[in-house]
């Protein structure tokens, strides 16, 4: 609750400070301060200390899983800002507005994680989406950025329509938007409405999390958007939408598990296949990361598919592992001029520490043991194995994970084993220190995932 309020307020503060402060650099200090406030507020929330103790007439619900996820999201945001502050300011002339939009998105993230009513979910997704359209097009003089924004907006608006249609059908079937009233007895004549509604919602949410076959916008948008914002929308926003997705399907829709299970399984398999296979053929690391984010979405779909306790733990770990690693990689990428794989040649010679952290991040994305990515994949796959059905899907997923090694390791090979001069990367001590924290967190979560998961069951 604290998060939703404070992020909205801080967004407004950011916007107004833009009016009164002309110094661009000040914006990042205010923004950082805001994120620290959000983080503290959220940890307080986790411990039951609230600014306003209200669930707004049952519109919101506060379970530990969602609150803990929000802490992970805000923590990732802090790391993201610390690593990429400089580049956000460099995007254009309106840094205060960019930061304001990011805070508004965080407000939406809060709603998407804590909703207890389909309308709140809808509003949350829209609050996330509209600022994202703007951020995508924020590099105003770049045609690619404009194209990406328009594409994203048109497709996003279309999927929003489908989402609303789904909600309407569900309302028609159950007469309610409240999650706890969305369950119908299997002999109820209105059940087809509910099922149709679930299908539409499934399609719309698959679009939002870029699951295949609704992923076509992703590579273009991620590639066209300013790199620093790609990093943000590919990580924090994406996992937040997944948490909303998971809460819906492991909650009220779980009663209809048999109806949607196969569809989700097929979406999962397609997402894994398309994401991984296409990523193999990319020449640009940025585009590779776009496809890799589709591939990773395939693994997160496993959590939705399974919907059990393992799935929630897995989703949480996945959120942390995926955000940390991807933010880490993008923070290096944004400093490079050459986005091709060859651009990474001999980086290890020039910047051994940065190369090391990048390696840890890539190993984590590939799911190698001792990194957070391993346990993230482990938990979501375990969740699927636990359901006892569709074992072929799990075997298929691990084969796809092996393919993903191919394109992640290409970067490692370029950095360590190829000859070259290595691009210049500007680094500051703070930047390196934060990178160190990223690597350390990935390894700690990779050895002791319980250090995060224990918080789920505390109290």
């Amino acid at each position: 609750m604290n998060l939703i309020l404070l992020s909205a307020i801080w967004g407004v503060i950011m916007m107004f400070s833009g009016l009164f402060i002309s110094n661009k650099a000040t914006s990042k200090i205010i923004a950082l301060l805001g994120v620290v406030v959000l983080l503290i507020a959220n940890i307080l929330d986790l411990n039951g200390i609230l600014i306003i103790n209200s669930d707004f007439g049952g519109m919101l619900s506060f379970d530990r899983f969602s609150l803990l996820f929000l802490t992970v999201a805000v923590g990732s945001l802090l790391i993201y800002l610390l690593l990429s502050n400089k580049h956000i300011i460099e995007v254009g002339n309106h840094p205060y507005e960019y930061y304001a939009l990011i805070f508004f998105i965080m407000c939406g993230v809060g709603l998407v994680a804590l909703y207890n009513n389909l309308l709140i979910l809808f509003i949350g997704i829209e609050i996330i989406s509209i600022p994202l359209y703007i951020l995508t097009g924020s590099d105003k003089r770049n045609l690619k950025s404009n194209e990406a924004a328009l594409k994203y907006f048109l497709m996003g608006a279309f999927s929003t329509g489908i989402f609303l249609l789904g909600i309407a059908f569900i309302y028609g079937g159950t007469g309610s938007f409240r999650l706890e009233s969305l369950v119908l007895a299997s002999n109820d004549q209105l059940r087809p409405f509910l099922i149709i509604g679930i299908v539409f919602v499934l399609i719309a949410l698959s679009f939002k999390v870029s699951a295949a076959p609704f992923h076509f916008w992703t590579p273009d948008v991620y590639d066209g958007a300013p790199t620093v914002f790609t990093s943000f929308m590919a990580t924090i926003v994406k996992v937040a939408l997944f948490v909303g997705f998971l809460n819906l399907f492991s909650g009220p829709f779980y009663a209809n598990y048999n109806e949607w299970q196969l569809s989700v399984a097929v979406i999962t398999a397609l997402t894994l296949l398309i994401g991984n296979i296409t990523a193999v053929f990319q020449q640009s690391v940025k585009r590779m990361l776009a496809y890799s984010s589709i591939a990773q979405a395939g693994f997160m779909m496993f959590a939705v598919f399974a919907g059990n306790d393992f799935a929630k733990q897995g989703m949480l770990l996945y959120a942390a592992a995926y955000c940390l690693a991807t933010i880490g990689i993008f923070s290096v990428l944004v400093k490079m001029k050459d986005f091709t794989f060859d651009g990474f040649n001999a980086l290890a010679k020039k910047e051994p520490f940065v190369a090391f952290v990048l390696t840890v991040c890539l190993l984590s994305l590939a799911g190698i043991p001792l990194t957070a990515g391993f346990f993230a994949k482990y938990f979501v796959l375990a969740a699927a194995v636990k359901t006892g059905t569709y074992l072929w899907l799990v075997i298929f997923a691990v084969l796809m994970a092996a393919i993903s090694v191919y394109y992640y390791f290409r970067v490692i090979q370029a950095m360590y084993f190829k000859e070259g001069d290595g691009q210049d990367i500007e680094t500051t001590p703070v930047y390196k220190a934060v990178l160190f924290v990223v690597a350390a967190l990935i390894i700690v979560l990779g050895v002791l995932p319980s250090s995060l998961l224990n918080w789920l069951t505390l109290y």
Partner: protein, 478 residues
Amino acid sequence: MIALLLILIPLIGGIGLFFVKGEKAAKSLSMFIAAANLGLMITALVTKADTAMHFDAAWLPQLGSSFALKMDGMSLILCLLTTLAYPVIFISTSNNQYKSPHSFYGLMLLAQAGILGVFVAADGLLFYFFWELALIPVYFLCSKWGGERRIAVTFKFFIYTFVGSLLMLVGLLYLYFQTPDLSFALQALYDVKLTTAQQSWLFWLFFIAFAVKMPVFPFHTWQPDAYEESPTAVTMVLSALMVKMGLFAVVRWLIPLFPAAAIQFDNVVIGLSVIGMVYASILAMQQDDIKRLVAYSSIAHIGLMSAALFVNNQSGLEGAIIQFFSHGVNVLGMWIVVDLIEQQFGTRKMSELGGIAQKAPVLTIMLVIVALANVALPLTNAFIGEFLMFNGLFQFNMWYAAAGGLSIILSAVYTLKMIQKVFYGESNATTAGAIDIGWMPKIGLSVIVVAIFIMGVFPKPVFALMNDTVTTVLGIYK
């Protein structure tokens, strides 16, 4: 406790080495760490205290996984091999120069930590962890310090093994959900009651992982390339130690977990192994590069071991386990000689070498002993193992033994041909200035030769050591 220290010493030492400056310091420190670990291992063998062999600490209680280590007889044999091999490798290759030596030796030690972890882990998830942990340093070692085609070749190796281990992970997960109280503990996994149908597909998920590592035909295609392109010190680790991970895992995990499937598919596995033996031997005869020759001969030897593991009798199992050690020692000796030749003459082609024996008598004597052990001459260590394995194979099916015997004859052919071409005959421009080996390689090779003879004449302690493993595995079969 010693089980834990065995892993920790190379792990911490390996990480520490990354921060060491200077080649000399890196070399002596890594040597010291390897020697310390060997000392520790010998202490474990001498005391045989129960507390030394076991270790158990909470790791992931929610998952039912603990940091449980257990050394049984077979683990002890393989840990001894690993801890013995490292000082020998470091001594024999101490004249080699590496770019950024501190990373090289650091990664070598990290690989040792992973390999030792595989041999002592008594928890499914922990085993998987070490299985992968051993692979990552080797990947970097081969890709960074290998030959010309190193990147592509090592990558193939990595992907092969990674696919295998992921399939094993799926199998492990399935098994885990069958345990009554969700546990990864070795004993809990042993106790799971599976139907024959479940066993038969889980068996393959695990077997592919192990078969790639060994490697068994037709999963072997990564191996000759990887052996050829890796720096020889790493090839030694790969072929003397890492292939043992696959064989070890069959005895420790595969057969006890799925005994019914192991009997059901014994003909398939033994058939593949025997095909691999003959096929690899024929290929070995065609090679001009001695490194590739040893690589193929290694596939042939591994084939015999993997066949012997599935014959389901005492003779085969005992022979295989003793051969784990013997093969490790012998192949290490072969690689040391190969490395010495390559370092001195800059070529590994038999056609370009010849007549070294007159100039380098010590090297020649050492090689002849190692090579004769490699073809399993009586009085050498390999004789006992191969005799028992053939005995076991014969009891299982005479024709397999006959086909396998063919590969032994072929191994004598190509090994002796190699000695003849490289060491005898006329010397040429490349080998005219040959000099004998220095003190360091002499020490390394002497250790090997001594081990060959001791094991060949007095193998009884090793049999006594493996007794508990053999009893357990054969008990589960029944």
